[in-house]
Protein backbone atom coordinates (compact mmCIF):
# COMPACT_ATOMS: atom_id res chain seq x y z
CA UNK A 1 0.00 0.00 0.00
CA UNK A 2 2.76 2.40 0.96
CA UNK A 3 4.45 1.52 -2.28
CA UNK A 4 1.37 2.51 -4.17
CA UNK A 5 1.12 5.97 -2.61
CA UNK A 6 4.76 6.57 -3.36
CA UNK A 7 4.04 5.65 -6.93
CA UNK A 8 1.40 8.38 -7.36
CA UNK A 9 3.90 10.95 -6.09
CA UNK A 10 6.22 10.41 -9.01
CA UNK A 11 3.38 10.10 -11.51
CA UNK A 12 2.73 13.14 -13.69
CA UNK A 13 0.00 15.58 -12.59
CA UNK A 14 -0.85 16.25 -16.18
CA UNK A 15 -0.42 13.70 -18.93
CA UNK A 16 -1.19 14.63 -22.48
CA UNK A 17 -1.53 11.65 -24.78
CA UNK A 18 -1.55 11.95 -28.53
CA UNK A 19 -3.86 14.96 -28.88
CA UNK A 20 -4.79 16.45 -32.24
CA UNK A 21 -6.71 19.59 -33.07
CA UNK A 22 -7.74 20.95 -36.43
CA UNK A 23 -9.08 24.45 -37.12
CA UNK A 24 -10.95 25.08 -40.35
CA UNK A 25 -8.89 22.49 -42.17
CA UNK A 26 -5.59 23.58 -40.63
CA UNK A 27 -3.94 20.97 -38.46
CA UNK A 28 -2.64 22.77 -35.38
CA UNK A 29 -1.80 19.89 -33.07
CA UNK A 30 -0.89 16.53 -34.59
CA UNK A 31 -0.52 13.79 -32.02
CA UNK A 32 1.15 15.74 -29.23
CA UNK A 33 2.44 14.02 -26.07
CA UNK A 34 3.64 15.76 -22.93
CA UNK A 35 3.97 14.83 -19.25
CA UNK A 36 4.16 17.38 -16.47
CA UNK A 37 5.39 16.23 -13.05
CA UNK A 38 4.18 17.61 -9.75
CA UNK A 39 5.93 20.81 -8.73
CA UNK A 40 7.89 21.31 -11.91
CA UNK A 41 7.80 24.18 -14.37
CA UNK A 42 7.55 23.17 -17.98
CA UNK A 43 8.06 25.82 -20.62
CA UNK A 44 6.67 25.13 -24.07
CA UNK A 45 8.49 27.18 -26.68
CA UNK A 46 7.74 27.55 -30.35
CA UNK A 47 7.09 30.11 -33.05
CA UNK A 48 4.09 32.41 -32.86
CA UNK A 49 1.03 30.67 -34.23
CA UNK A 50 2.45 27.17 -33.87
CA UNK A 51 -0.37 26.12 -31.55
CA UNK A 52 1.08 26.85 -28.12
CA UNK A 53 -1.97 28.74 -26.92
CA UNK A 54 -4.24 26.06 -28.37
CA UNK A 55 -2.33 23.46 -26.34
CA UNK A 56 -2.80 25.52 -23.18
CA UNK A 57 -6.50 26.03 -23.83
CA UNK A 58 -6.91 22.30 -24.28
CA UNK A 59 -5.24 21.62 -20.94
CA UNK A 60 -7.52 24.20 -19.32
CA UNK A 61 -10.57 22.54 -20.83
CA UNK A 62 -11.53 25.73 -22.68
CA UNK A 63 -11.23 23.69 -25.86
CA UNK A 64 -11.59 20.01 -26.56
CA UNK A 65 -9.08 18.15 -28.72
CA UNK A 66 -10.40 16.29 -31.77
CA UNK A 67 -8.69 13.14 -30.54
CA UNK A 68 -6.37 12.05 -27.76
CA UNK A 69 -6.58 12.28 -23.97
CA UNK A 70 -5.52 14.76 -21.34
CA UNK A 71 -5.22 13.40 -17.81
CA UNK A 72 -5.31 15.55 -14.70
CA UNK A 73 -4.56 13.37 -11.69
CA UNK A 74 -5.45 10.26 -13.70
CA UNK A 75 -8.82 11.51 -14.90
CA UNK A 76 -9.38 12.22 -18.56
CA UNK A 77 -10.59 15.81 -18.67
CA UNK A 78 -11.60 15.62 -22.33
CA UNK A 79 -14.55 13.50 -21.18
CA UNK A 80 -15.62 15.91 -18.43
CA UNK A 81 -18.99 17.64 -18.49
CA UNK A 82 -19.30 21.33 -17.57
CA UNK A 83 -19.80 20.67 -13.87
CA UNK A 84 -16.75 18.42 -13.57
CA UNK A 85 -14.69 20.88 -15.59
CA UNK A 86 -15.62 23.71 -13.23
CA UNK A 87 -14.71 21.52 -10.27
CA UNK A 88 -11.35 20.72 -11.85
CA UNK A 89 -10.67 24.40 -12.49
CA UNK A 90 -10.78 25.09 -8.75
CA UNK A 91 -7.30 23.50 -8.83
CA UNK A 92 -6.20 25.56 -11.82
CA UNK A 93 -5.09 29.12 -12.30
CA UNK A 94 -4.49 30.74 -15.65
CA UNK A 95 -2.66 33.89 -16.69
CA UNK A 96 -3.98 35.14 -20.01
CA UNK A 97 -1.89 36.85 -22.64
CA UNK A 98 -3.85 40.11 -22.43
CA UNK A 99 -4.35 39.72 -18.67
CA UNK A 100 -8.14 39.46 -19.23
CA UNK A 101 -9.04 41.40 -16.08
CA UNK A 102 -12.78 42.03 -15.70
CA UNK A 103 -12.90 45.70 -16.56
CA UNK A 104 -16.21 46.40 -14.85
CA UNK A 105 -14.68 45.44 -11.50
CA UNK A 106 -11.96 46.97 -9.35
CA UNK A 107 -8.63 45.19 -8.91
CA UNK A 108 -9.74 43.97 -5.50
CA UNK A 109 -13.03 42.59 -6.86
CA UNK A 110 -11.16 40.89 -9.70
CA UNK A 111 -8.94 39.02 -7.29
CA UNK A 112 -11.77 38.35 -4.83
CA UNK A 113 -14.36 36.98 -7.26
CA UNK A 114 -13.28 33.33 -7.05
CA UNK A 115 -13.17 33.49 -3.25
CA UNK A 116 -16.61 35.12 -3.05
CA UNK A 117 -18.12 32.54 -5.38
CA UNK A 118 -16.54 29.39 -4.04
CA UNK A 119 -15.36 29.66 -0.44
CA UNK A 120 -18.15 31.20 1.63
CA UNK A 121 -15.57 33.08 3.70
CA UNK A 122 -16.60 36.34 5.35
CA UNK A 123 -15.63 39.70 3.85
CA UNK A 124 -12.80 40.40 6.29
CA UNK A 125 -11.14 37.09 5.61
CA UNK A 126 -11.54 37.54 1.84
CA UNK A 127 -10.08 41.03 2.00
CA UNK A 128 -7.13 39.72 3.94
CA UNK A 129 -6.41 37.01 1.34
CA UNK A 130 -6.78 39.51 -1.51
CA UNK A 131 -4.31 41.90 0.13
CA UNK A 132 -1.94 39.04 0.80
CA UNK A 133 -1.99 37.89 -2.84
CA UNK A 134 -1.65 41.42 -4.18
CA UNK A 135 1.25 41.90 -1.80
CA UNK A 136 2.85 38.85 -3.34
CA UNK A 137 2.95 40.66 -6.69
CA UNK A 138 3.86 43.98 -5.07
CA UNK A 139 0.58 45.78 -5.76
CA UNK A 140 -1.28 45.92 -2.45
CA UNK A 141 -2.02 49.64 -2.93
CA UNK A 142 -4.13 49.47 -6.11
CA UNK A 143 -7.07 47.47 -4.73
CA UNK A 144 -9.60 50.22 -5.41
CA UNK A 145 -8.40 51.04 -8.92
CA UNK A 146 -10.01 49.82 -12.14
CA UNK A 147 -7.99 47.81 -14.68
CA UNK A 148 -8.17 50.68 -17.20
CA UNK A 149 -6.12 52.81 -14.78
CA UNK A 150 -3.23 50.32 -14.71
CA UNK A 151 -0.23 49.84 -16.98
CA UNK A 152 0.27 46.62 -18.95
CA UNK A 153 2.80 45.25 -16.48
CA UNK A 154 0.58 46.05 -13.50
CA UNK A 155 -2.36 44.34 -15.19
CA UNK A 156 -0.23 41.22 -15.70
CA UNK A 157 0.69 41.21 -12.03
CA UNK A 158 -2.92 41.66 -10.90
CA UNK A 159 -3.92 38.85 -13.25
CA UNK A 160 -1.20 36.72 -11.67
CA UNK A 161 -2.57 37.46 -8.19
CA UNK A 162 -6.04 36.53 -9.45
CA UNK A 163 -4.71 33.28 -10.94
CA UNK A 164 -3.20 32.09 -7.65
CA UNK A 165 -5.85 33.40 -5.25
CA UNK A 166 -7.40 29.96 -4.72
CA UNK A 167 -3.96 28.39 -4.10
CA UNK A 168 -4.14 26.27 -7.26
CA UNK A 169 -2.09 23.15 -7.87
CA UNK A 170 -1.47 24.02 -11.50
CA UNK A 171 -0.94 27.43 -13.06
CA UNK A 172 -1.04 27.91 -16.82
CA UNK A 173 0.74 30.93 -18.29
CA UNK A 174 -0.05 32.14 -21.80
CA UNK A 175 2.86 34.27 -23.03
CA UNK A 176 3.48 35.91 -19.63
CA UNK A 177 6.16 38.31 -20.87
CA UNK A 178 4.91 39.15 -24.36
CA UNK A 179 4.38 42.85 -24.93
CA UNK A 180 6.26 43.94 -21.81
CA UNK A 181 9.49 45.93 -21.64
CA UNK A 182 12.63 44.01 -20.60
CA UNK A 183 12.53 45.34 -17.04
CA UNK A 184 8.91 44.33 -16.53
CA UNK A 185 9.62 40.95 -18.18
CA UNK A 186 12.31 40.46 -15.55
CA UNK A 187 9.85 41.33 -12.79
CA UNK A 188 7.29 38.86 -14.11
CA UNK A 189 9.92 36.13 -14.50
CA UNK A 190 11.09 36.59 -10.91
CA UNK A 191 7.47 36.53 -9.72
CA UNK A 192 6.82 33.25 -11.51
CA UNK A 193 9.90 31.71 -9.93
CA UNK A 194 8.95 33.04 -6.48
CA UNK A 195 5.37 31.85 -6.69
CA UNK A 196 6.71 28.52 -7.75
CA UNK A 197 8.88 28.31 -4.62
CA UNK A 198 6.39 29.77 -2.15
CA UNK A 199 3.22 28.04 -3.27
CA UNK A 200 4.80 24.85 -4.66
CA UNK A 201 2.70 24.93 -7.78
CA UNK A 202 3.07 23.02 -11.01
CA UNK A 203 3.38 25.42 -13.92
CA UNK A 204 3.01 25.18 -17.65
CA UNK A 205 4.23 28.22 -19.50
CA UNK A 206 3.94 28.79 -23.22
CA UNK A 207 6.13 31.50 -24.65
CA UNK A 208 8.36 32.44 -27.55
CA UNK A 209 10.58 34.44 -25.20
CA UNK A 210 13.57 32.09 -24.95
CA UNK A 211 15.31 34.25 -22.32
CA UNK A 212 12.31 33.95 -20.04
CA UNK A 213 12.20 30.21 -20.71
CA UNK A 214 15.80 29.79 -19.49
CA UNK A 215 15.05 31.70 -16.27
CA UNK A 216 11.79 30.11 -15.17
CA UNK A 217 11.89 26.62 -16.69
CA UNK A 218 12.88 23.35 -15.05
CA UNK A 219 12.28 21.73 -18.38
CA UNK A 220 11.79 23.17 -21.83
CA UNK A 221 9.77 21.50 -24.58
CA UNK A 222 9.77 22.70 -28.13
CA UNK A 223 6.52 22.62 -30.09
CA UNK A 224 6.90 22.40 -33.85
CA UNK A 225 4.46 21.26 -36.54
CA UNK A 226 1.92 20.26 -33.91
CA UNK A 227 4.25 17.97 -31.97
CA UNK A 228 6.78 18.21 -29.17
CA UNK A 229 10.04 17.79 -31.08
CA UNK A 230 12.49 18.26 -28.22
CA UNK A 231 12.51 18.14 -24.42
CA UNK A 232 15.36 19.03 -22.11
CA UNK A 233 16.66 21.22 -19.31
CA UNK A 234 17.48 24.86 -20.10
CA UNK A 235 21.18 23.88 -20.16
CA UNK A 236 20.51 21.08 -22.65
CA UNK A 237 18.48 23.40 -24.84
CA UNK A 238 21.26 25.97 -24.87
CA UNK A 239 23.78 23.40 -26.05
CA UNK A 240 21.47 21.38 -28.24
CA UNK A 241 22.52 20.23 -31.68
CA UNK A 242 18.93 19.68 -32.76
CA UNK A 243 18.56 21.88 -35.85
CA UNK A 244 15.01 22.96 -34.94
CA UNK A 245 15.96 23.98 -31.40
CA UNK A 246 19.16 25.63 -32.54
CA UNK A 247 17.30 27.48 -35.25
CA UNK A 248 14.69 28.73 -32.81
CA UNK A 249 17.15 29.82 -30.14
CA UNK A 250 19.37 31.61 -32.61
CA UNK A 251 16.44 33.07 -34.48
CA UNK A 252 17.24 31.62 -37.90
CA UNK A 253 14.75 28.79 -38.03
CA UNK A 254 13.77 28.29 -41.67
CA UNK A 255 10.11 29.02 -42.22
CA UNK A 256 8.38 25.97 -43.58
CA UNK A 257 10.82 23.46 -42.13
Amino acid sequence: MTDNSKNTESRPVIRIVNISKTFEGQRVLTGLDLDVLRGETVVVIGRSGCGKSVLLRNIAGLMKPDSGEIYFENEDITKFNTRKLFKMRMHFGMLFQGSALFDSMTVGENVALALVKHTGLDIDRINRIVTEKLDLVGLADVTEKYPSELSGGMKKRVALARAVVMDPEVVLYDEPTTGLDPVMSGVINRLIVNLQKELEITSIIVTHDIKSAYIVGDRIAMLHDGKIVYEGTPRQVENSDNPLVKGFVEGNLQIGT
Binding site: G93, Q97, A100
Partner: protein, 259 residues
Protein backbone atom coordinates in the same frame (compact mmCIF):
# COMPACT_ATOMS: atom_id res chain seq x y z
CA UNK B 1 -26.85 29.40 -56.53
CA UNK B 2 -28.30 26.24 -54.96
CA UNK B 3 -25.13 26.01 -52.96
CA UNK B 4 -25.69 29.51 -51.61
CA UNK B 5 -29.30 28.80 -50.66
CA UNK B 6 -28.28 25.54 -49.01
CA UNK B 7 -25.51 27.30 -47.19
CA UNK B 8 -27.95 29.94 -45.98
CA UNK B 9 -30.39 27.33 -44.68
CA UNK B 10 -27.66 25.38 -42.92
CA UNK B 11 -26.28 28.55 -41.32
CA UNK B 12 -29.75 29.55 -40.20
CA UNK B 13 -30.46 26.17 -38.64
CA UNK B 14 -27.09 26.18 -36.93
CA UNK B 15 -27.74 29.60 -35.45
CA UNK B 16 -31.26 28.66 -34.36
CA UNK B 17 -29.86 25.57 -32.69
CA UNK B 18 -27.22 27.58 -30.85
CA UNK B 19 -29.83 30.07 -29.64
CA UNK B 20 -32.02 27.18 -28.49
CA UNK B 21 -29.11 25.73 -26.59
CA UNK B 22 -28.48 29.04 -24.86
CA UNK B 23 -32.17 29.27 -23.87
CA UNK B 24 -31.94 25.77 -22.41
CA UNK B 25 -28.81 26.63 -20.46
CA UNK B 26 -30.43 29.78 -19.07
CA UNK B 27 -33.56 27.91 -17.94
CA UNK B 28 -31.49 25.22 -16.27
CA UNK B 29 -29.73 27.88 -14.21
CA UNK B 30 -32.93 29.63 -13.08
CA UNK B 31 -32.72 28.08 -9.58
CA UNK B 32 -29.39 29.83 -9.13
CA UNK B 33 -30.91 33.28 -9.58
CA UNK B 34 -31.03 34.05 -5.82
CA UNK B 35 -27.24 33.86 -5.75
CA UNK B 36 -27.00 36.56 -8.41
CA UNK B 37 -29.46 39.10 -7.04
CA UNK B 38 -26.90 41.88 -6.95
CA UNK B 39 -26.22 41.69 -10.66
CA UNK B 40 -29.96 41.27 -11.30
CA UNK B 41 -30.72 44.57 -9.57
CA UNK B 42 -27.84 46.26 -11.35
CA UNK B 43 -29.18 45.09 -14.71
CA UNK B 44 -32.74 46.09 -13.80
CA UNK B 45 -31.48 49.57 -13.02
CA UNK B 46 -29.55 49.76 -16.27
CA UNK B 47 -32.36 48.44 -18.45
CA UNK B 48 -35.26 50.03 -16.59
CA UNK B 49 -34.17 53.30 -15.04
CA UNK B 50 -31.62 53.89 -17.78
CA UNK B 51 -34.27 53.66 -20.49
CA UNK B 52 -36.73 56.11 -18.89
CA UNK B 53 -35.62 59.26 -20.77
CA UNK B 54 -35.77 57.43 -24.08
CA UNK B 55 -39.18 55.91 -23.39
CA UNK B 56 -40.46 59.25 -22.10
CA UNK B 57 -39.67 61.16 -25.28
CA UNK B 58 -40.74 58.34 -27.60
CA UNK B 59 -44.06 57.79 -25.84
CA UNK B 60 -45.09 61.43 -25.55
CA UNK B 61 -44.57 62.00 -29.25
CA UNK B 62 -46.12 58.71 -30.32
CA UNK B 63 -49.24 59.58 -28.34
CA UNK B 64 -49.22 63.08 -29.79
CA UNK B 65 -48.97 61.93 -33.41
CA UNK B 66 -51.65 59.30 -32.86
CA UNK B 67 -54.05 62.05 -31.75
CA UNK B 68 -53.18 64.20 -34.75
CA UNK B 69 -53.60 61.37 -37.26
CA UNK B 70 -56.80 60.10 -35.67
CA UNK B 71 -58.33 63.57 -35.73
CA UNK B 72 -57.32 63.93 -39.39
CA UNK B 73 -58.95 60.64 -40.33
CA UNK B 74 -62.06 61.26 -38.25
CA UNK B 75 -62.66 64.56 -40.00
CA UNK B 76 -66.17 64.62 -41.38
CA UNK B 77 -66.96 60.99 -40.56
CA UNK B 78 -66.52 60.30 -36.85
CA UNK B 79 -67.30 62.65 -33.97
CA UNK B 80 -64.12 63.85 -32.24
CA UNK B 81 -65.38 62.72 -28.84
CA UNK B 82 -64.15 59.25 -29.81
CA UNK B 83 -60.59 60.51 -30.12
CA UNK B 84 -59.69 59.35 -26.61
CA UNK B 85 -60.98 55.87 -27.34
CA UNK B 86 -58.84 55.50 -30.43
CA UNK B 87 -55.69 56.89 -28.85
CA UNK B 88 -56.17 54.67 -25.80
CA UNK B 89 -56.75 51.54 -27.86
CA UNK B 90 -53.91 51.96 -30.33
CA UNK B 91 -51.50 52.88 -27.60
CA UNK B 92 -52.26 50.08 -25.16
CA UNK B 93 -52.71 47.39 -27.80
CA UNK B 94 -49.83 48.04 -30.15
CA UNK B 95 -47.90 51.28 -30.09
CA UNK B 96 -46.95 51.26 -26.41
CA UNK B 97 -45.66 47.68 -26.24
CA UNK B 98 -44.07 47.51 -29.70
CA UNK B 99 -42.40 50.90 -29.85
CA UNK B 100 -41.11 50.59 -26.29
CA UNK B 101 -39.68 47.20 -27.19
CA UNK B 102 -38.08 48.57 -30.36
CA UNK B 103 -36.37 51.59 -28.80
CA UNK B 104 -35.40 49.80 -25.59
CA UNK B 105 -34.37 46.80 -27.69
CA UNK B 106 -32.04 48.89 -29.79
CA UNK B 107 -30.48 50.42 -26.74
CA UNK B 108 -30.27 47.33 -24.54
CA UNK B 109 -29.38 44.58 -27.01
CA UNK B 110 -26.63 46.74 -28.52
CA UNK B 111 -25.18 47.49 -25.10
CA UNK B 112 -25.28 43.82 -24.09
CA UNK B 113 -23.76 42.54 -27.31
CA UNK B 114 -20.97 45.13 -27.21
CA UNK B 115 -20.18 44.52 -23.54
CA UNK B 116 -20.21 40.72 -23.69
CA UNK B 117 -18.52 40.76 -27.10
CA UNK B 118 -15.66 42.85 -25.75
CA UNK B 119 -15.36 40.48 -22.79
CA UNK B 120 -15.21 37.60 -25.24
CA UNK B 121 -12.48 39.01 -27.49
CA UNK B 122 -10.34 40.12 -24.54
CA UNK B 123 -10.57 36.60 -23.06
CA UNK B 124 -12.51 37.84 -20.02
CA UNK B 125 -15.15 35.15 -20.57
CA UNK B 126 -12.43 32.49 -20.63
CA UNK B 127 -10.89 34.00 -17.51
CA UNK B 128 -14.27 33.76 -15.83
CA UNK B 129 -14.56 30.10 -16.78
CA UNK B 130 -11.06 29.51 -15.46
CA UNK B 131 -12.02 30.71 -11.99
CA UNK B 132 -14.98 28.33 -12.25
CA UNK B 133 -17.59 31.07 -12.50
CA UNK B 134 -20.19 30.18 -15.12
CA UNK B 135 -20.67 33.10 -17.56
CA UNK B 136 -24.22 31.97 -18.38
CA UNK B 137 -25.20 32.02 -14.73
CA UNK B 138 -23.28 35.15 -13.81
CA UNK B 139 -23.79 37.29 -16.92
CA UNK B 140 -26.66 35.99 -19.06
CA UNK B 141 -29.22 34.91 -16.46
CA UNK B 142 -29.45 38.27 -14.62
CA UNK B 143 -29.66 40.16 -17.91
CA UNK B 144 -32.49 38.07 -19.29
CA UNK B 145 -34.52 38.06 -16.08
CA UNK B 146 -33.99 41.81 -15.65
CA UNK B 147 -35.21 42.53 -19.18
CA UNK B 148 -38.25 40.27 -18.79
CA UNK B 149 -39.20 42.14 -15.59
CA UNK B 150 -38.43 45.67 -16.77
CA UNK B 151 -40.01 45.68 -20.24
CA UNK B 152 -43.60 45.42 -18.91
CA UNK B 153 -42.81 48.09 -16.32
CA UNK B 154 -41.47 50.41 -18.98
CA UNK B 155 -44.49 49.70 -21.15
CA UNK B 156 -46.93 50.70 -18.38
CA UNK B 157 -44.99 53.93 -18.12
CA UNK B 158 -45.04 54.32 -21.89
CA UNK B 159 -48.82 53.65 -22.20
CA UNK B 160 -49.49 56.28 -19.58
CA UNK B 161 -47.25 58.89 -21.16
CA UNK B 162 -48.50 58.27 -24.68
CA UNK B 163 -52.10 58.81 -23.59
CA UNK B 164 -50.96 61.96 -21.81
CA UNK B 165 -49.28 63.13 -25.01
CA UNK B 166 -52.45 62.44 -26.99
CA UNK B 167 -54.50 64.30 -24.42
CA UNK B 168 -52.25 67.34 -24.58
CA UNK B 169 -52.46 67.50 -28.36
CA UNK B 170 -56.24 67.02 -28.21
CA UNK B 171 -56.56 69.95 -25.86
CA UNK B 172 -54.11 72.44 -27.28
CA UNK B 173 -54.10 71.69 -30.99
CA UNK B 174 -57.42 70.03 -31.77
CA UNK B 175 -59.50 71.76 -29.11
CA UNK B 176 -61.05 68.86 -27.22
CA UNK B 177 -61.21 69.24 -23.47
CA UNK B 178 -59.60 66.79 -21.10
CA UNK B 179 -63.00 65.63 -19.94
CA UNK B 180 -64.26 64.73 -23.37
CA UNK B 181 -61.00 62.98 -24.18
CA UNK B 182 -61.18 61.02 -20.90
CA UNK B 183 -64.82 60.10 -21.50
CA UNK B 184 -63.91 58.71 -24.89
CA UNK B 185 -61.02 56.82 -23.33
CA UNK B 186 -63.33 55.22 -20.79
CA UNK B 187 -66.11 54.52 -23.26
CA UNK B 188 -64.43 51.69 -25.13
CA UNK B 189 -61.83 50.75 -22.55
CA UNK B 190 -61.40 47.06 -21.84
CA UNK B 191 -58.88 45.85 -19.31
CA UNK B 192 -57.96 42.98 -21.69
CA UNK B 193 -56.41 45.53 -24.03
CA UNK B 194 -53.88 46.62 -21.44
CA UNK B 195 -53.24 43.12 -20.08
CA UNK B 196 -52.88 41.65 -23.57
CA UNK B 197 -50.50 44.41 -24.58
CA UNK B 198 -48.41 43.86 -21.47
CA UNK B 199 -48.35 40.07 -21.92
CA UNK B 200 -46.49 40.57 -25.18
CA UNK B 201 -43.78 42.63 -23.53
CA UNK B 202 -42.55 39.73 -21.39
CA UNK B 203 -41.61 37.99 -24.63
CA UNK B 204 -40.13 41.17 -26.09
CA UNK B 205 -37.90 41.54 -23.01
CA UNK B 206 -36.78 37.96 -23.41
CA UNK B 207 -36.02 38.42 -27.12
CA UNK B 208 -34.04 41.63 -26.60
CA UNK B 209 -31.76 40.28 -23.88
CA UNK B 210 -31.41 36.87 -25.52
CA UNK B 211 -30.23 38.39 -28.80
CA UNK B 212 -27.85 40.77 -26.99
CA UNK B 213 -26.30 37.94 -24.98
CA UNK B 214 -26.23 35.40 -27.80
CA UNK B 215 -24.45 37.66 -30.27
CA UNK B 216 -22.16 38.97 -27.54
CA UNK B 217 -21.04 35.42 -26.74
CA UNK B 218 -20.74 34.52 -30.43
CA UNK B 219 -18.38 37.43 -31.14
CA UNK B 220 -15.27 36.59 -33.11
CA UNK B 221 -11.97 38.40 -33.27
CA UNK B 222 -11.39 42.01 -32.44
CA UNK B 223 -13.11 45.35 -32.71
CA UNK B 224 -14.68 44.51 -36.06
CA UNK B 225 -16.23 41.40 -34.57
CA UNK B 226 -17.74 43.41 -31.73
CA UNK B 227 -19.23 45.89 -34.20
CA UNK B 228 -20.67 43.09 -36.29
CA UNK B 229 -22.29 41.29 -33.39
CA UNK B 230 -23.73 44.54 -32.02
CA UNK B 231 -25.36 45.15 -35.37
CA UNK B 232 -26.66 41.59 -35.59
CA UNK B 233 -28.09 41.81 -32.08
CA UNK B 234 -30.03 45.00 -32.84
CA UNK B 235 -31.28 43.88 -36.25
CA UNK B 236 -32.35 40.45 -35.08
CA UNK B 237 -34.06 41.68 -31.93
CA UNK B 238 -36.02 44.30 -33.92
CA UNK B 239 -37.06 41.75 -36.55
CA UNK B 240 -37.99 39.14 -33.97
CA UNK B 241 -40.03 41.69 -32.02
CA UNK B 242 -42.06 42.59 -35.11
CA UNK B 243 -42.57 39.00 -36.24
CA UNK B 244 -43.40 37.68 -32.78
CA UNK B 245 -45.72 40.65 -32.22
CA UNK B 246 -47.94 39.37 -35.00
CA UNK B 247 -47.91 35.83 -33.62
CA UNK B 248 -48.51 36.97 -30.05
CA UNK B 249 -51.33 39.29 -31.11
CA UNK B 250 -52.96 36.38 -32.88
CA UNK B 251 -52.64 34.11 -29.88
CA UNK B 252 -53.68 36.67 -27.28
CA UNK B 253 -56.46 38.54 -29.04
CA UNK B 254 -57.89 35.85 -31.31
CA UNK B 255 -57.62 32.90 -28.93
CA UNK B 256 -57.19 33.88 -25.28
CA UNK B 257 -59.31 37.04 -25.26
CA UNK B 258 -61.49 36.07 -28.22
CA UNK B 259 -64.94 37.59 -28.16
Amino acid sequence: MFFLIGRFIVDFLEEAGAVGLLILRVFRRLPKLPRNLRSLFKQMERIGVGSIPLVLVTSLFVGAVTAVQAAYQFHGYVPLQYLGAVVGKTVTLELGPVLTALVVGGRVSAAMAAELGTMKVTEQLDAMEMIAVDPVEYLVLPRIVAAVIMLPVLTVFSDFLAILGGMAVAKFSIGISYNIFADGLKLLFRYQDVVGGLMKTFFFGFIISLMGCYYGFATKEGAEGVGLSTMKAVVSSCLLILVSNYLLATIIFRIIFAV
